[in-house]
């Protein structure tokens, strides 16, 4: 069901030229330099340590490694991470 729903949404959004992160649950990740990272449309924080942050999104898990990582601002759908970011990797949930 959710899969179908998403498809309908994307059709409407394509027609109206809406940005994808608004019409769907897809996360939008913005990285400014190597020190700032904004994740929109996230679900929850799974792990937070100074050198490692694990954030779950609707399509998978996002791993961020670095030093002195701070969660500068946290609202229900935005998360701003600052600190020296070393690496990012994704663990996508395979769709059945």
């Amino acid at each position: 069901m959710p899969n179908k729903n998403r498809k309908v949404q994307s059709k409407v959004s394509r027609l109206l030229d809406l940005p994808q992160e608004i019409s769907t649950n897809l996360p939008k990740i913005t990285i400014v330099g190597f020190e700032k990272m904004l994740i929109e449309n996230y679900k929850a924080i799974l792990e937070y340590q100074e050198h490692f942050v694990r954030v779950s999104t609707h399509i998978g898990i996002l791993n961020i490694s670095g030093y002195n990582l701070n969660l500068n601002e946290m609202t229900t759908d935005d998360l701003l991470i600052t600190g020296t970011i070393d690496g990012i990797d994704f663990e996508s949930i395979s769709e059945e």
Partner: protein
């Protein structure tokens, strides 16, 4: 985002330290409850520093219980806490308010009047005119109609061409453009003579209209007619005309000075003494007694108006009297020295008198020697145009 932080600063926020094993869970629960967290920083493996708004902090309690965390308040920040701190300093606050109020109140008055652009009219005269027209020091700025004052002044005085009153802060700047005294213009169809403005010997006289009365080489005095505004014909009789012409004459300017051979000169010793007094709106307070300890001294008085900002004058003046000591020293000039000093002085005075220095033809210096002094006379001979028109009055 920044707006939210700003709002929290205004409403107050606390920086807390959360200790526990399930801090991520704590954060996610906060998110679900729509509690805004910012500045999250891990300080220890089990500790996290978080900023929370004041209202949200009260809602944290069930979450803390659920996640079995311990919370310690680190710092209280924001405007409400700042105000709370100053509640104990009521007098300080009251005085602060009084100062601000008095500044606002005082800024509604005029504390300084600046007059610019006056060369001939003395400043006191302008100030007295302004005073008659309700603009004086200590007058309230509200309800002051500068337009009507300007119009009044222009009605009263003929020698002021333009007046502008600009009120900047507590400073009223009165700008004046003085009117040149207008020369009497005689219409072409009116009859006039040409008369001499200065004494002198005529070197050249050309009459374009009218009959020349004076001849070349004549000695004329000030006010005498040079070209008469009439024409005489054999058959027409005397006919009056508008005289026109040019008269060039030698004019002498002389300056006499006496230079005494013995002179007392003031030699400052460099010692100075300052005395201050404070003047508050015409009420003077002497801080020190006004007699100097020196025997011979010059006094220099200076006043300085206090101002807060560039244009905010206060009704307080600092009055400074400087006494500088000098010693009298007798100087004996030789005759030659006295002469050269005298000539220099006289020449300097003459330079101011003569309008056009290129027309100077001759310079003569006469010196006379007496027992105690030297008399110097410097004469400049200048070729000048000395004619002006004067209306013939019948």
């Amino acid at each position: 985002m920044y707006f939210k932080i700003l709002l929290n600063i205004i409403l107050g926020y606390v920086s807390i330290e959360v200790e526990g094993y399930f801090i991520e869970r704590f954060m996610n629960l906060c998110n679900k409850e729509k509690i805004f967290l910012w500045g999250i920083k891990r300080s220890h493996s089990t500790k996290v520093r978080v900023n929370v708004g004041l209202k949200d902090f009260k809602r944290l309690k069930p979450i803390i219980k659920k996640t079995k965390c311990r919370v310690k308040i680190n710092k209280k920040k924001g405007v409400p806490f700042l105000l709370h701190r100053y509640q104990k300093r009521k007098i300080f606050f009251a005085l602060f308010l009084i100062i601000i109020l008095s500044i606002i109140l005082l800024s509604n008055f005029i504390w300084n009047i600046e007059v610019t652009g006056n060369n001939r009219i003395p400043k006191e005269e302008i100030l007295s005119i302004l005073q008659n027209n309700n603009l004086k020091i200590g007058k309230c700025k509200i309800g002051l109609k500068t337009n009507s004052i300007v119009q009044q002044i222009r009605l009263e005085r003929n020698d002021i061409a333009w007046v502008g009153i600009d009120i900047k802060g507590t400073n009223a700047i009165v700008e004046i453009v003085e009117a040149d005294l207008k020369p009497e213009i005689i219409n072409e169809d009116e009859f006039c003579n040409i008369i001499a403005t200065k004494d002198g010997i005529i070197t050249k006289i050309t009459a374009q209209n009218g009959t020349p009365v004076a001849k070349q080489g004549d000695m004329v005095t000030k006010g005498s007619v040079l070209i008469g505004g009439w024409l005489e014909g054999k058959f027409t009789g005397t006919r009056y005309v508008h005289a026109n012409g040019e008269i060039q004459a030698r004019v002498w300017y002389s300056e006499k000075t006496k230079i005494p051979l013995k002179q007392l000169e003031k030699v400052p010793t460099g010692k100075q003494e300052n005395k201050y007094s404070v003047k508050i709106n015409n009420f003077k307070i002497n801080l020190l007694k006004g007699v100097s300890k020196f025997e011979k001294y010059d006094t220099i008085e200076t006043t300085k108006k206090l101002k807060l900002f560039s244009n905010f004058y206060l009704p307080i003046e600092i009055y400074k009297k400087t006494f500088s000591e000098y010693q009298e020293k007798e100087i004996n000039y030789t005759v030659e020295e006295a002469k050269s000093i005298g000539i220099a002085q006289a020449q300097q005075k003459l330079e101011g008198k003569v309008e056009n220095k290129e027309l100077i033809v001759d310079k003569k210096i006469y010196t006379k020697q007496n027992e105690n002094y030297v008399e110097v006379e410097v004469i400049y001979e200048v070729l000048e145009n000395i004619g002006t028109k004067e209306k013939i009055v019948f």
